[in-house]
Chain length 485, copies 3
């Protein structure tokens, strides 16, 4: 017990946000490591290699348009926008943390996707003949997906950690993700096209566990910066909308060619539409005078996309998608109203962006919906070949039955939660070490800590600002009477 | 006469913007209705159904890439961006109505597209063998198109109506749209790839008629909020640019595979380029000192895309597209300078976003251009097969001649105008009922009415703001001498 | 000597920013000229012409999906976003020049792409049978590329020139670009998929030479407007991110179908990721307290995309891309820290956006990397056919060897630099004429010069603003004690 206490004391000593050496050192060392590992391991796959012209002939492929690039590149670019603009701008809602929101999101995504290409490559794209990872557009999409898990986790600790901590969070997050994903998709053989379990549940619980480990009892010292201002809420809507619009691409990006991608896009489109209406309804119902709250519109409207992730490629049916979206809009908004304050007060989990309501809860619903939809699958609905294709009942799983598949889906959820919470506690321990340059309690949510912030006229007291204004304009006479008193 | 007056008095009684019950009730009830109707009617079509693998074999389709998804999905996503980011941000130009602009746009689009899938489905995608509507990516695009009509109408009443009124406007708007579209495209057999008539003329006249019915003689009471501020104009440019850039996708999204989509994209790209130059020219010419007006740049630059909508898939020729854009830039900008004030003063039509200049006038030009281009079509220009494909001279219209097609195009315009004005008057009557929670005249264009607006430092009187600032910072000594007087 | 001096005096006389006649005149005349030239020269190519159905049959093309439209349209739209939103918003970082940044970017891009279709068409798409230029989607992409060169140049003179000057800059820029491109790609037979040399080096040296010619010794008179404010930096990040995300599309948009596009996208994706980490590292290392500078994050993170432009379609290998990105992030950021101030002080080159660091230096690196990668190419790596396809060793160049190709690549760089500097000096001379309405030294970086700027509450002295506020609200009693003194 004593050692725990002294560990705590060690961690809570005077904060210093100077990352003058640690941030450059980590960036340069890790990027150098990436170059070396890429040099050893990563090569182009046969569809991005100049021998493609021979591959085509050998495999009797009639046209370049059959290259996987043309099936997946438009979806890839949409996913890319979600990762960098969607997640980045969604977090700009705080009045003075927009640089950190967009900038650190940019940094950790750019690092994370490199590490993800390696980690996922070892598990999924290793060519055993030469020991190399062969990459193509599908790997790029999967790397972006992998990064999404870490960006979700960033949402929980937004404004309370240093960029070095974020890079550590990302390094471990990607590693855990790749292992968890391999277990769920390959060993357990659960299906998870849009990553309700693999991405959203894992990412959310990972972030919440870290936030719990980094609990700040005196965070109200920076309460002046915890809200939004008018324009920061509009910026955040850019993030919301690009996530919302491109979510059909997210959920369909790596599903089967043809009807698989087509159906996943339709289901996601419908689920998201439905969520918007119930979010508005609950937001209005639970506020005084029925006024809408931007926090709900920015976040809960997206819950349907999360929840339909697993089942998007299944025969969820259009009305099924609407029902999933309907429920998620309600649950997610209620989460913002009741659960977030409860968790902060009683569970000591400070969740800046409310990822519990946007990713954990809808991810959980998504996992359940996926399990039920899989268990209910039948040859009459899917067709004999369709069932095999959709659920990939091939190879060692060729005798799998839909009902058993439902059980496997549920098992996948457990793995995602365990990896999220367990990994988060472990990484949270590491991030408590007093070497990472995180901000003090009264210095959170403030870009001043890590950014050169322009001398904004707005931040100067108005009277002084007026004086400056006059001085700049070199005005000698003044109709400004106050000073003449 | 007396009854009209008492109706007016009834409608103009004390306003109350409280939508505490009506908004949630409408959202929940309508979304529930959507779920039931989708359950009864909507199914996947053969390209999004798992039986696709069998369909391919039966129809001798060689590759998954022949699935319509790959022809249309990139365009669909661009159209989706136009609907949610394009229209949404275009309307953020008002200084304190950005939440309403983006947020209500989001709400009515999300509701509208569900209702549009049903309404358009009954007319166009009903499978008579089982009475179900079979949807695929083309239905999603058409639903987005249908929603666009209502979002155009929203532009006319922006800031003056409640979200409940907007939902009513959308419900009726989508219904009218689907009927009007069926008459124009199927019964009259007019072609309208980019919807100059079907979408823009209908939407604009619908909105203008509603705005006329909801005329507010004392709207100048909220004139303090009718302008823009610097940053709100920059936000609006996000909307403008995403509309402008993706308009080639809008006009080519549902045209014929191959040369049809290709040509529509080229024509739209050219028309829009030309519009920008003439908009700048006229804006500069008619302002003192030649200064440009952001209102024109935000709106009139888009007129070329509207006007080239009908003829985009025809042999308009590249120079023809430039000419259309040239004229529209001039006419639309002059509309903002002269027509909008005239209409407000003399016709009692208050058109917040100037949709008359951006959609009605260019839509009208587009209809005319379409009729002329169709009438002038010949086998020497299109080729025998090309003519049949482009104008769909098949089935009962297989003896149609281009000259007659020109007449049908003109007839289509009349239907669009009639449905717009007639429907708008009808819906305007309904919206005058005193039950919808619309704002009072001195409360228009203000997000405070329906949104929890953050306590913005800017909106607090500056002296108090400074005091707050000091209090927050817990500063005891002060070099701020005014208060010490 | 005397004549030079009197030329200078002529040019430096009293400035007048009134473009009341010149701007409309130039726009209308040039747009009219475009219409005439398009009428004479431009037609649809066989893939966008209604005879496509016959072409398909004649060329034995099995499906509409083989139309080039489907290979390139998604990339085209991404490039289009980079040109209009990417470049436009990247330049909004100045506190009071966002209208000019986005608006003039819009204007010159819309004009430039029309002129580019003609200029590039004469060189590359002229059908000698009928003397017409036949355009399709690839021409649209190339026109956007061509415009990019001029937008880069705009970055150097941002805030210091009039819109008329920008149109002149664009007219000559596009013309020079098309000639330079023809020499480099066709006569010298250098390869340059992403335009490191053709677009970035040319554009940057063109802009820098113009800026040198337009040197303003007293530019510090408008130093109050040369910085950013908080929100303008966030707006600029929209530009940065859309450039960053869509750069893989830029570099792969016109490469060979199949593996060429696939590989170019992968290489660009990787190079850009790597650049982000080294930019952050150097930015933090060279600032006091390790704080990051938004200027670096907004700009240097993009350098990797520039530098990988030429070699993106070659076998640069994934680790090679990372190395290129690694170096460029460092060099570009150091350029912002040391070179930009040096150039302004000692070379009299005022480079508003630092295009030397973002385009010239990385473009130079890109040219070198391209030359080395080409020279090192071998049949064992590319395959016999792959080598011929990738380097286009066909026709008169069918005996070309990779080593010699490396020399040709280097020669291409020299041409790009010469055209850039030479053209820039020439055009700079023209732009010094005192007829263009450019702003005075104390009036630079200010939207007031060319735009109707809304009466922003923020720009009114706060006490007066408060008074206005009270007056508007019609408040008679006041708890604002200062005035009561």
């Amino acid at each position: 017990m004593g050692s725990v206490q002294s560990f705590r004391q060690l961690c809570d000593r005077q904060k210093n946000t100077n990352v003058h050496l640690s941030l450059p050192a980590v960036c340069i060392v890790w990027q150098t490591a990436m170059i070396i590992l890429f040099g050893v391991f990563i090569r182009y796959n046969e569809e991005s290699d100049p021998h493609w012209v021979e591959t085509k002939r050998k495999k009797n492929i009639s046209s370049d348009i059959e290259n996987d690039f043309y099936f997946r590149y438009p979806s890839f670019q949409d996913v890319h926008v979600m990762i960098f603009v969607g997640f980045g701008f969604l977090m700009t809602f705080l009045k003075r943390y927009s640089f950190g929101a967009v900038g650190f999101n940019f940094l950790i995504a750019a690092f994370g996707l490199q590490w993800a290409l390696l980690m996922q490559g070892w598990f999924h794209s290793l060519d055993y003949t030469d020991g190399k990872i062969k990459i193509g557009v599908e790997n790029l999409i999967n790397a972006d997906f992998c990064v999404a898990g870490c960006l979700i986790a960033y949402g929980a600790v937004l404004g309370k950690v240093s960029p070095v901590q974020l890079l550590v969070l990302t390094l471990f997050g990607i590693t855990l993700f790749a292992v968890e994903e391999y277990i769920i998709l390959n060993l357990i053989h659960a299906r998870d096209a849009g990553g309700s379990m693999v991405i959203h549940m894992f990412g959310a619980y990972y972030g919440l566990a870290i936030s719990w480990m980094l609990y700040r009892p005196n965070l109200d010292q920076s309460s002046r910066l915890q809200g939004s201002v008018y324009h920061s809420d509009v910026f955040a809507m850019i993030g919301t909308l690009f996530l919302w619009m491109f979510w059909p691409s997210f959920n369909s990006a790596i599903t089967d060619h043809g009807d698989g991608q087509h159906r996943a896009a339709i289901n996601t489109y419908l689920a998201l539409s439905s969520t918007v209406l119930t979010t508005v309804a609950v937001s209005s119902l639970f506020q005084k005078h029925g006024k809408l709250d931007m926090v709900h519109i920015q976040n809960s409207t997206l819950a349907g996309g999360v929840a339909v992730g697993t089942a998007a490629e299944f025969m969820l049916m259009p009305y099924g998608s609407l029902i999933v979206g309907f429920c998620c809009g309600i649950i997610s908004t209620l989460g913002y109203i009741y659960l977030t304050p409860f968790m902060e007060k009683h569970l000591k989990i400070q969740d800046t962006c409310g990822i519990h309501n946007l990713h954990a809860l809808p991810g959980f619903i998504g996992g359940i919906v996926g399990a039920i939809t899989a268990a209910a699958a039948s040859e009459s609905v899917y067709g004999t070949e369709g069932l095999v294709n959709t659920f990939d009942f091939e190879g060692e799983f060729k005798d799998m039955k839909p009902t058993r598949q439902g059980g496997h889906q549920a098992a996948g959820m457990c793995v995602a939660i365990c990896f999220g919470i367990g990994g988060g506690i472990l990484v949270g321990c590491i991030l408590r070490l007093p070497i990472w340059g995180d901000p003090a309690d009264d210095n959170c949510f403030d870009d001043e800590a890590y950014w050169e912030v322009p001398e904004d006229e707005e931040s100067i007291p108005p009277i002084l600002q007026y004086n400056n204004h006059m001085r700049n304009k070199d005005v000698t006479e003044s109709n400004f009477t106050v000073e003449q008193n």
